[in-house]
Symmetry: C2
């Protein structure tokens, strides 16, 4: 029953380009013209494949999450809560200043506040940031059960704290902070873990 003309572009490669545009200009600052230009396609192809500008963003966010999955797995597999935090913060310092990408974090740069009609976008980004925080919370709860964190430690507060620091680092990166500056922030942040980590 006929399958139709096949897509002439690589959707994943196109998404990578779209991701970069959203990353650099934010959701509202990115225009369809910029996106189609970067993706090397025409508007009808974009809409046929992704439905809308917001659909394209979500697809780009999925791809962003995919890229990060390996990193997060590595982080969460670190042996102690303190090691988790260290891997997370120093890793973030590096990735957010990786010259291969726009500086900062797409989940922050994408848009914290949007105009009428795009109110979903900040929600969507916040939900995805919350996923990372949840992973950290669970990891720290386990660390507490393991006796790796002291009995008075609050896994939820620690996860929130780590999440806040990483977001803050992302904003600093996007406004020009270099890798060394972010590493300094990471090093200071880690001191907050010393007290509640079990002696080793």
């Amino acid at each position: 029953m006929a399958m139709g003309r096949p897509r002439a572009f690589d959707a994943d490669a196109a998404l990578d380009e779209a991701m970069e545009v959203f990353w650099r200009h934010g959701y509202e600052g990115a225009t369809i013209a910029q996106l189609t230009d970067a993706m090397g396609i025409n508007p009808p192809s974009l809409y046929a494949a992704f439905g809308s500008k917001e659909g394209l963003l979500k697809a780009a966010l999925d791809r962003y999450s995919g890229r990060r999955a390996a990193f997060m797995e590595d982080v969460l597999n670190a042996p102690t809560a303190r090691a988790v935090a260290e891997k997370m913060l120093l890793g973030i310092a590096d990735t957010q200043t990786d010259p291969a990408n726009p500086p900062g974090c797409l989940l922050v740069q994408g848009g914290l506040a949007c105009g009428t009609g795009s109110e979903n976008v900040p929600f969507e980004l916040a939900a995805r940031r919350a996923q990372t925080e949840d992973q950290l919370r669970e990891r720290f709860a386990k660390a507490k059960a393991d006796g790796d964190l002291t009995a008075t430690a609050d896994p939820s507060a620690l996860a929130r704290y780590l999440s806040a620091v990483t977001v803050g680092m992302g904003v600093m990166a996007s406004s020009g902070a270099d890798r060394e500056a972010l590493r300094q922030v990471a090093v200071v942040s880690l001191k907050a873990f010393d007290e509640q980590s079990a002696a080793r």
Copy 2:
């Protein structure tokens, strides 16, 4: 030689309303129609008084800084580096969840990434965030000279760290974190100061 018809609206009150619109929707998400509506004036009055949308933003930012000046002075006058950090972080937790304002910080919500033609906006916001960081750096340098911080402490890194945490808290507030959650972040953050504060 004739002074012309006097302005019929209170520029400061109008700026407060404009500030709120920018705060809630970001620079690009805020439309002139929303701004004039909130300010209770018509576009020609806006342009006569502030020159452009970007000029209006700068005026609103000036007013925002003014509002914060008293708070920052209080923070910087705290007796020790640790007390400065505590006042800063707990104060920020409160102001960023003050129901009288949109959640978060205008200097972050205003726009981290913007479209072509508004590239100045992120720069402008970053420059104003850097002012606070500079104030903190100077205050911590003084604390080190006073012997209030240990000889190995790095005032610049501490200021950057505090700046990163406050920005992170602002983003969390804007995505729905309540006051108690931000205070938890503040409390954890403060632990990073313990080690490098002189015993008392």
